[in-house]
Each structure stands twice: as structure tokens, then as C-alpha cells.
Symmetry: C2
Subunit: 265 residues, 2 copies
């Protein structure tokens, strides 16, 4: 598991599908700015302040712990390339994955105001991450109102995704659960311009997916086969190919409202 999957995805351009227009900013902050400006219109000074944020970039292997439950981190982590996930483990050793994170996410932004980690944060693939000190972040939120609100909103979207995840795990049958999961990741990957919703790489094993969906690995395998047989999707290695997106969406009972990607007003 030493390949950085995210890096191998080209910034595909295909006609007829939504393309995200990146602001005129380069460097590692680009992903963060692109993300924040999706929902909030920042001023030039805001963007400059973000670019000036001191950041330590590191390359991590797959399955690396970025933060562990009980720790009190002094920085947040911007996922620049690669995938990560948050998880908790019960006393009987069952793991539950809480969320999947893609480039542009700040998966531990909550640690800015919640000082003790209540879950683990781990890379799924080899990843490039940028660490930003809490002090710097707190400073920017105090000086730049719009940045503060944009970051706050990011944590709120985070929570909205958790809510839908609860519904998925609590009330949908296995096949629908898997469909919803794949639809969500696709939608989010497309929103940041990484790939298309119906064709993307997902560096997770079936065991990981089981932990994300609250299922057993064996059953995940059977669900995938069923989806393959019915022509809804391919899912080999770590490549997801949705063959029948409408049917997937219907199976999934998917409504992207909860992702709050179209923040009108």
C-alpha cells in the first residue's frame, strides 16, 4: 500500500459535467481555498491570509495515525493529497468508521475548539498533509470574520454528513447502505474537481467499507457482487465505476442536500 492513489487521479475534463473553477491561487493552500470558496465568497485579504498561514507539509504512508483518541493536538491537518478516515473502536474491538476524507478536507478542524480527540484520524492511502498550528488558525479566525465563518461552516457540513451517516447505518438495508456510501464519496470527489462521481479511486478494502457501513466484511463482499451482477457498478481493486448512476441514486435514496454544496445566499 505505498501508492498514493489520489495523486494518480488527473484533473479530468469531460464535457457536459460540472467543473469547479479554481481561484487564481497556487500552492498547498489551494485546495483549502477552493473548498472554502465553494460555500463562502471570501475577500482578497482573506485569501492572502490563508495563503500566509504557516503550514508544515508532510508525506505520510497509508494507515498512518494522524491523531488518536485522547490526544490533545496543537494543530489541524489539511489533507492535500490522499484519503483519510475518522473512526472509533468499541470495547469489544469493533471499529466504526465515522467519515471519509478527501483532499481539501480539514478532518480534525474540530480540535481547534474541542481540545481532546474523541476519535482516531488515520490515513487510508499514502497522503500529503499540511499541519497548521491552532494558534495560527485561531489568530486568523479572530482577524478575518469571513474566514472564521467559512471554517465554522465546514465543521457544520461535517456534522451534516455525520447525520446522514447515522440514517445510513441505522435505517437502510445493506445494499442501499453501500450505494449511498459510494454515491456520497463520488459527489464529494466531484465537487472538489478530483474526479467524476461515477468514476473514481477509493483506497479502501472491503474490510474498511464494512467498518464504515456497520456490516461484516463477508456481507460487504456479497453486496458488491450483487451490485456488480445487476450492472449498477464495477468495483475492482480500488477503482469505483458507476455504470448506472440513476439506479445507484435510487437504490441509495440519495439526496445531496445534506452536503450543502450549493450554498445559495
Amino acid at each position: 500500500m505505498s501508492i498514493n492513489y489520489a495523486k494518480t487521479i488527473p484533473a479530468v475534463k469531460r464535457p457536459g459535467l460540472p467543473q469547479v473553477e479554481a481561484p487564481a491561487v497556487s500552492g498547498v493552500s489551494e485546495r483549502l481555498i477552493r473548498r472554502l470558496t465553494v460555500s463562502t465568497s471570501l475577500e482578497a485579504a482573506d485569501i492572502e491570509a490563508i495563503v500566509r498561514l504557516p503550514m508544515i507539509v508532510k508525506d505520510l504512508p497509508a494507515q498512518a495515525a494522524i491523531a488518536r483518541e485522547g490526544e490533545k493536538p496543537a494543530q489541524c491537518c489539511l489533507l492535500i493529497d490522499g484519503f483519510a478516515c475518522r473512526s472509533k473502536t468499541t470495547d469489544v474491538g469493533k471499529r466504526q468508521i465515522l467519515s471519509i476524507h478527501i483532499p481539501g478536507d480539514v478532518p480534525d478542524l474540530q480540535s481547534l475548539h474541542l481540545h481532546t480527540m474523541d476519535h482516531d484520524l488515520t490515513t487510508l492511502s499514502a497522503s500529503r498533509v499540511g499541519f497548521i498550528a491552532h494558534d495560527s488558525l485561531r489568530a486568523i479566525t479572530r482577524e478575518r470574520q469571513l474566514v472564521a465563518e467559512a471554517l465554522w461552516r465546514e465543521t457544520l457540513i461535517d456534522a451534516a454528513v455525520f447525520r446522514e451517516w447515522i440514517v445510513n447505518v441505522g435505517r437502510r438495508p445493506a445494499t442501499s447502505r453501500m450505494a449511498h456510501f459510494l454515491a456520497e464519496i463520488g459527489k464529494r470527489i466531484e465537487a472538489v474537481g478530483l474526479a467524476h462521481a461515477d468514476e473514481y479511486d477509493l483506497p479502501m478494502t472491503q474490510i474498511d467499507m464494512a467498518d464504515a457501513l456497520g456490516l461484516s466484511p463477508v456481507h460487504v463482499n456479497r453486496v458488491i457482487q450483487e451490485l456488480r451482477r445487476s450492472g449498477v457498478l464495477e468495483l475492482r481493486k480500488h477503482a469505483v465505476s458507476i455504470r448506472d448512476l440513476p439506479q445507484l441514486m435510487q437504490l441509495a435514496d440519495f439526496d445531496d442536500l445534506y452536503l450543502h454544496q450549493n450554498q445559495a445566499v
Copy 2:
């Protein structure tokens, strides 16, 4: 269902158990201030600003919709007395309760920056709620840094509770799930000084609990009976009495870290 359960709970004082010291503030804002000062130390000017927040107080019956999925509310709602819950319903009509809210909560605080409701917010019991316009809230967050951070933190704790809820629904067996649910509500009720963690009123039917736990009502009933038989708790009408708190906690695999009630530093 016209009885306001919350109102019937006296501010019990029992020796040997933690008591929350309320700040010297009265009126409907008291609950909010008490809540915010649990985790953040606010300045006098902050508290004054909160007290001065224009608020429209309303009494609602049980099962009243405060906000519905798809709506774009222009205010947030402070729960002054009574219980509420947030929920989503799948296309096949299965309801999943996402969270339970008690006096002092602002269950739709996320609407301040996420303009469209992605779920429903409903009263569980007859309740008194205070509506605060988004404009007023936005103004206070721009003028009072500490208030902004305290409110942001509240939404982060909200998310932390969602995360644990995912674990509960995704990875714990039914009995453990119920135990965890009752432990959490107890802990939170105790934290705001409403009642004790082992003796409180919970205005939910077994059907509601089933929707909260991702179980069927029939199975919820059987789980409750099992917990009764084993002497862990009583649960009659809407009164929860934990008889063996340690055993409940162990059954629940409960660790209150995720509630972030002891915000050291």
C-alpha cells in the same frame, strides 16, 4: 400528551453528586448562558450581550414541528423547557432520530451558517422555546469573539455526539445500544442540573426510542424488559430509573469523553 415533563422536574439537590453552579443570571437566557459557560469562560460583557439578545418565547405542544427539512429558517431556537429531537425519514418511510435535545440546547444552531434544513426538528414534549433571529446571532458573533467561539464549540459538541451515535447504531448490539442511549441522556441532563443521571424523565415512547436506536419497537420493548429483569433499570411511563449505574455503563461501553463537558484549557 399535554404535560410538560421537563417543567415537572425540580432542581433536585442530593448530597454526594455533582451540582452545577448557575451563574448569577435570571430569565430565559439563563439556560443558554449556563450551557455556554460550562465550556468557555465568558466575560461580563459577553453575558450582557447574550441577555440582551432579542428573543421571542413560545410555548409549543408535544410533537410540534419547529423546523422541517428543506426549510430556510431565519432564526435559531433555544430550548428553554421540554425535550426535542432531530430526525430524518428515508424514502421508504423509516424514521431515524439523530439527536435528543434538552433545555439549554440550541438544536438548530447549524442553521446560522447552513441555510437549508437537512432534517426535521420536532418537540417531544410540550416545550417552551425562545426564537433568536439569525441577524441578532450573527451580530453577536461578530462583536463578541468569545461568544462566537462558545457557539461554534456547541456545534462541535453536537457533531461529537453524532459521531458516538454512529458508533452506537453501527456497532453495538441492541441492549448495549439502549444502555448507551440512556446513559448519554442521563449524563447530559445531569450536566445542566435538570436531574440526576440515574433518575430522570424522558418523554419518549418506545417507538421513538426504536427510531433513535435503529431498532424495531417490538425489539426495544424486549430489550427494556431484559434490562428490567436483570435489575439494571426501571423504565415506566416516561420515567427512567437506573438501578445499577455501573452495570449500565459497562453494558453501554460508555465513556463520556465525547460529550466534552470537562473542557480543561
